[in-house]
């Protein structure tokens, strides 16, 4: 009896302990604002998973040089934006500029600073085809709308003269989870095909008229690799690293361009608006790959919120400034496209508009 009683007591103590733990954890979630977290030498960011490999490299190098730690959570662009809206992070990162609904949810103005550029490659599984497949915007839209359903369709054959196309059916593979990659790709299709724009439209998740969904880039890549006759859109970096075949796409000037770091940087070398919110799809650049897009770092324009110290704001601004200049040297090896000069210039101008208590932070 005595032993049992003792057990009971410890069980109760344990229960109370856990209860307190839970309550305190909840409390932390509620008021866990970055400004009040004591450690000003650690910045917190969240967002795009596309940026994660590049950011990991950049932040580790920056930490070596400047001793500042950056804790980046790769939770997806949309989630990153809502974390920034809730002011639980110092910066967000997104592959798509914030839409009007996200803008209205935020309590203050948010700056978009382009930090890198990526491309969406069209990867296919046609073992018989040794040459690189060429696709025009019309054909691409036709395939993803389900109008072109066989590889030996005359529309595909006429732009791929000399290539013997198999008579297999086309299996379209797309992302099943919401993603910035889908946003870039559907934005591109909406621009080049009125039919797509009317029926499907653009967004991080769309209502796909045909095809199979794979979870994540590796899910789509898996479907493409496994299914004969499949075509799917994946991040260029992933396609290059995994030696997957990808198509040349006809750009606005009419030339067929293979996605590469150079052709993406070229696509970004256009007139960039003051707020940098531009889609790099189907740009005027004659040697640019048409399905490219910026990835942005997002910060509040007014950095004084939630008792943040000016020191913290200055460190954040310095970090981002480093990322768009010196940090760009790490892009190439990781198959990200370095920012074009035009983009870096616009980024600088935007960073200068950030303020702390109304005063500019960067000189």
């Amino acid at each position: 009896m005595k032993i049992r009683f003792h057990n009971l007591k410890s069980t109760l103590t344990l229960g109370v302990f856990f209860a307190i733990l839970t309550i305190s954890a909840c409390g932390d979630g509620g008021n866990g604002t970055t400004g009040s977290s004591g450690d000003d030498n650690t910045l917190i960011g969240a967002g795009s998973s596309f940026d994660n490999p590049l950011f990991s490299k950049m932040f580790s190098e920056y930490n070596k040089a400047n001793g500042l730690r950056v804790n980046y959570q790769s939770i997806g662009s949309g989630a990153g934006i809502s974390q920034l809206t809730n002011k639980t992070v110092d910066f967000g990162a997104s592959d798509a500029p914030m839409n009007s609904k996200q803008d209205s949810a935020a309590s203050a103005a948010i700056l978009h600073i382009p930090v890198t550029a990526g491309a969406v490659a069209l990867s296919y599984n046609l073992p018989e085809v040794k040459d690189t497949l060429r696709l025009t915007p019309t054909v691409l839209a036709g395939i993803f709308l389900g109008k072109i359903s066989r590889w030996d369709d005359p529309q595909i054959a006429s732009i791929n003269k000399g290539i013997k196309l198999p008579s297999t059916g086309i299996v379209v593979a797309h992302r099943s989870d919401g993603s910035g990659t889908t946003n870039i790709f559907s934005t591109y299709l909406s621009k080049v095909s009125e039919d797509w724009n009317a029926k499907v439209g653009k967004g991080s998740s769309v209502n796909w008229p045909v095809g199979l969904g794979g979870k994540g880039t590796e899910g789509v890549a898996g479907l493409v690799k496994q299914t004969p006759g499949a075509i799917g859109y994946i991040e260029l970096a992933y396609a290059i690293q995994n030696n997957m075949a990808y198509a040349k796409i006809q750009n606005k000037s009419g030339s067929f361009i293979a996605p590469s770091i150079a052709s993406v940087t070229a696509a970004a070398n256009v007139n960039i608006p003051q707020d940098s919110k531009i889609s790099l799809t189907n740009t005027d650049a004659s040697d640019g790959y048409p399905i490219s897009g910026f990835s942005w770092v997002l910060i509040y324009k007014e950095q004084k919120y939630n008792n943040r110290r000016s020191d913290r704001a200055a460190k954040l601004l310095k970090l981002i400034s480093w990322m768009i200049h010196d940090g760009q040297q790490f892009s190439g090896p990781l198959t990200y496209a370095p920012l074009s000069t035009a983009a870096a210039t616009v980024g600088d101008a935007i960073l200068k508009t950030a303020t702390y208590d109304g005063k500019p932070i960067l000189p």
Binding site: A79, N99, G203
Partner: protein, 328 residues
């Protein structure tokens, strides 16, 4: 008058159980004994209160979940109304949400999986419960079956992608249907494997609980083993077996990761069991993190609410069926 009666009774009692009362009195009178008794009572009370508390917390939790789901679904309920349930389009771009394809996908995959798994789980339950309850081979089988339940579902997803999908694809090629490999059928197969242990374990324990007098009686009357299983064990354990199957179904309804990896994730209504589809749990897992509009997010939460209600309804039906079985 009354005093006398008590005294009389006391005398009568002490006559019969003198020894016992004396020792009890001694215990109660000694201070140590009193303390011990008080402590016992206190322990009992605390323990009972704790049990009550735990039970109440569980009820609160379920009500809380339902309440949160309801509350968060309000924007979507307002925007879409009841049409949400039978709407066939899921279009985040235009803010049109219909749960019908996913509701259908969930029910199709779960019931198909159940049908595939029942012969296996009942066979395992009978084998382990009746034929070979002891020995190292049955032990090994039992542990293996239990292990099936312990394997994380993402591993089933990988296994499905690497092994099952190519197999189904070659089957589809021979059947002359679109050879996607992924789809409703593949996910049902994966689910069937995953839910076998639930019905099998519960079935085994209820079969072992069949009184041996019943079985021996049947054998004494000249029944064969098959006849004993068919006319004694199965009727006796019906409700238990059904409860196990219900548990399996519950698991199949909510399974997310393995299904999303092999179902093809499309919001088009499946035309056959080989077509790709999607389930409610899988849609939530896929789209929740990037749901960038309030109504979109709310529609996903409402999907969770629908899943919750489907589970409740199926459980309630199951309970009724079990009760009918037991009353017979």
């Amino acid at each position: 008058m009354s005093e006398a009666t008590i005294e009389n009774k006391g005398i009568a009692l002490s006559d019969s159980k003198l020894g016992v009362i004396n020792s009890d009195l001694a215990l109660i009178q000694s201070k140590k004994g009193v303390r011990r008794l008080n402590r016992q009572i206190r322990t009992e009370n605390t323990f009972r209160k704790m049990l009550l508390l735990m039970g109440l917390i569980m009820i609160l939790l379920v009500i809380g979940i339902l309440f949160t789901l309801l509350l968060e679904s309000i924007p979507s309920l307002k925007a879409l109304g009841l049409k949400y349930l039978w709407g066939k389009t899921w279009d985040p771009v235009q803010d049109i949400y219909g749960a019908y394809p996913f509701l259908l996908g969930t029910l199709l995959t779960s019931f198909l999986a159940l049908i595939i798994s029942i012969p296996f789980s009942i066979a395992i339950a009978v084998f382990l419960g009746e034929y070979y309850p002891k020995g190292w081979i049955p032990d090994f089988l039992k542990n293996t079956v239990e292990l099936i339940a312990a394997v994380p579902s993402v591993i089933y997803g990988f296994w499905g992608l690497a092994v099952l999908v190519p197999m189904v694809r070659s089957l589809e090629t021979t059947l002359h249907v679109d050879p996607y490999g992924v789809g409703i059928f593949t996910s049902s197969l994966i689910l069937a494997v995953m839910i076998i242990p639930y019905a099998a374990s519960l079935g085994r324990s209820v079969i072992q609980m069949v009184p041996s007098s019943l079985k021996e009686g049947a054998y004494a009357l000249g029944a064969t083993r098959w006849e004993v299983i068919r006319s004694v064990i199965i009727p006796y354990t019906k409700s238990g077996l059904f409860a196990g199957i219900l548990l399996s179904l519950g698991r199949a309804l909510g399974e997310t990761m393995a299904v999303t990896m092999v179902i093809g994730n499309t919001s088009i209504i499946p035309k056959s069991i080989f077509a790709p589809g999607n389930t409610m749990a899988s849609v939530i897992a896929n789209e929740f993190t990037e749901a960038d509009k309030p109504v979109y997010l709310s529609a996903l939460i409402e999907l969770g609410l629908v899943l919750f209600l489907v589970t409740v309804v199926i459980n309630m039906i199951g309970k009724r069926v079990i009760r009918r079985f037991t009353n017979e």
